[in-house]
Amino acid sequence: MAQHNNQFMDVIERFKESRSVTIGATIIVLFCLLAIFAPQLSPNNPTKACLDDRLISPFTEFRYPLGTDHLGRCFLSRLLYGTRISLMVGITVVSISATVGIILGVVSGYYGGLPDALIMRLVDATLAFPSIFLAVAIAGILGQGLVSVMIALVVVDWTKYARVVRGSVLSLKEKEFIESARSLGATDLHIMARHILPNIVAPIIVVATLGMAYVILSAAALSFLGFGPQPPTPEWGVMLNAGRVYMRTEPHLTILPGLAIMAMVLAFNLLGDGLRDILDPKRSVIE
C-alpha cells in the first residue's frame, strides 16, 4: 500500500514538473472559459450580418476589435463562438468513439474467439482506408452539416480506442487478480467493470487527449472542404474557407481562424504528450 501511495505521489510530482502538461492544460482551461463566457465576452451577435460594415480591418474600429468578415459580421465574436463549436465537436466525437471503442475492445480482448475475430477484422477494414478519405466519403454521402462531420469522425476514430483497450485487456486477463476474482465466482460483467476498466484508464486518457487534437483538426479540415456546417455557423474551418477569397486584402480573415485552430490543437497535443510521458514509464525512459 505504501508503495502504491508512493507511486501516486510520484505521478503527481511529475504532473507539476511537466512543462508540456502545464502549458497544454492552461491553454485548454482558457479556451473552455472563452467557450463558456462567449456570450458575455462577444461584443456583437456572431451571426448578424451588417452589409454596411463589410471587411473592416482589425484594430481600426472600436465596435469591431478584430474587424468584420465579408458580410459585416463581427470577427471577434465569431472566433469566440467558434471555440464552442470546436470543443463541442471534439468532446462529442471523442466520447462517442471512446465509448464504442472501449466496449468493443473489452469484448474483443476478454472473450477472444469469434467476437474478437469479427471486431478486429472491422478494425482492419477501417484502418485500410486513409482516415480522411473515409471521413470525406462518409461526410460527403451523408450531406453537409456538423452532424455528418461528427458521424464521419466517429467512424474513423473508434479503432484507436478498441486497439489500445484490447491490448491492455489481453495483458490483464492473465493477471492473478482477475483469476482470483473469477474463482470467487464474479460474473464477466463484474470483472470487466470492476477489475479491467479501472486498469485501462491511464492509456485511454492519453489516447483521448491526443484524440481531441486529432478530431478538432480533422473537423476543421472537413468543414474547410465544405462538408461541415453551413455559412452562418461560426466554425473556424468554415470561416477560414470563406476568408481565403479575401486573402489578398484582408489576410486576418485567413490567419486568425487558423491560429485559433492551431492553438487549440497544440494545447491538446502538449497535454496528451505530457500525460503519456508521465503515465507510461516505459516511454519516458527515452528522455
Binding site: 477494414a125 485500410a128 482506408f129 486513409p130 480522411i132 460527403g140 479540415a221 472542404l225 474551418g237 487558423g258
Partner: protein, 314 residues
Amino acid sequence: MFNYVLKRILQLIPALLIVSVASFSIIYFAPGDPAETICTGPDGNTNPESVEKFRIEMGLDKPLHTQYLIWLNNVVHGDLGYSFRSEKPVFEHIITAFKATLKLSIVSLVVSLIIAVPLGILSAIRQNSLIDVSCMVGASLGVSMPNFWLGLLLMLLFGVYLHWLPVAGYGAGGDIEHIILPAITLGTGSAAVTARLMRSSMLEALGQDYIQTARAKGVPEQVVIGKHALKNALIPVVTMVGLNFGYLLNGSVVVETIFGWPGLGSLIVDSINMRDYMMVQGCMIFVAVLFVAVNMIVDISYKYIDPRIHYGAA
C-alpha cells in the same frame, strides 16, 4: 520468407472484403434510388435513358448480394465503372490522379526527410541546447498546424506578396515550380513527426553500450554518431515510412484541393461535390488497396533493414 508474405496476404483478405462491401454500399447510403443517384447531375436533372441502361448493366433489379458479386467481379477485373461527369472509365481517371498524387507524395516525403533527419540528429547530439528546444517547439507547432492554413499562408507569402511561385495549379504536368508549395505544405506535418522520432531514437541509440564499445575502439565521434548510432536510430524512422505514406495520403485531400493539384485527394472531393458516386466508390477501393499494399510492403522490407527481425516461425 515466401510463406510469410503469403500469410500476410491471406490475412488481408477478410479486411479487404469488408472494405469492398463498405465501398459498394456507398451508393446505397446516399439518399434516393441508387441508379437515379448515380445518373443525377449536380443540377438535379436525370437522364432516364442512362438510368435504365445503368439499372440493367449493374443488375439493380437483382437481389443485393447478386449485385455485390457482379460489382466485385468487375472490380477484380479492373472495371470500376464509368464516371458520370466525363463518361470515361473511372479507372482511367484514378490512374491519372494517382500519378499526380504519387509525384506530390514522393517530393513531400523527400522534403520532410531532408528537414527532419538532420534536425532530429542535431537535436539529439545537442540535447537541451537552444537548437534542440527550438526544433522541438517547431515540431509541436508543425504537428498541430492545420495544413490547409499553412498552405494558404505559403500561397499568400510566396505567391501573392513575393510573386516567386505560382499560387496554385499543376503547370506542365506538375513541374518543379508548381510542386514546391504543395510539397512543403504536405511535408511539414510528417517532417515534424519524423524529427521527433529521429531525435528520440538517436538519443536512445547514443545511450546504448555499443556506443561505448565504438568509442573504446578509438572511433572518431563523427563516425560514432554517423555510423554506429545512426544505423540503429534510422530503423524506426524507416519503419515510419509506411505510416508517413498514410499521413501524406490523408494530407493530400486538403492540400490538393487548395492548390488545385489533380490527384486522388482532389478527385474524391470533386467527385463528392459533383455527386459522381461511381468515382467516389472507385477512389475508395483504390486508395484502400493501395494503402494496405504499401503497408504490407513496408512491413516485409523491415527484414532487410533490421537484421534482428527474422520471420522464421512468425
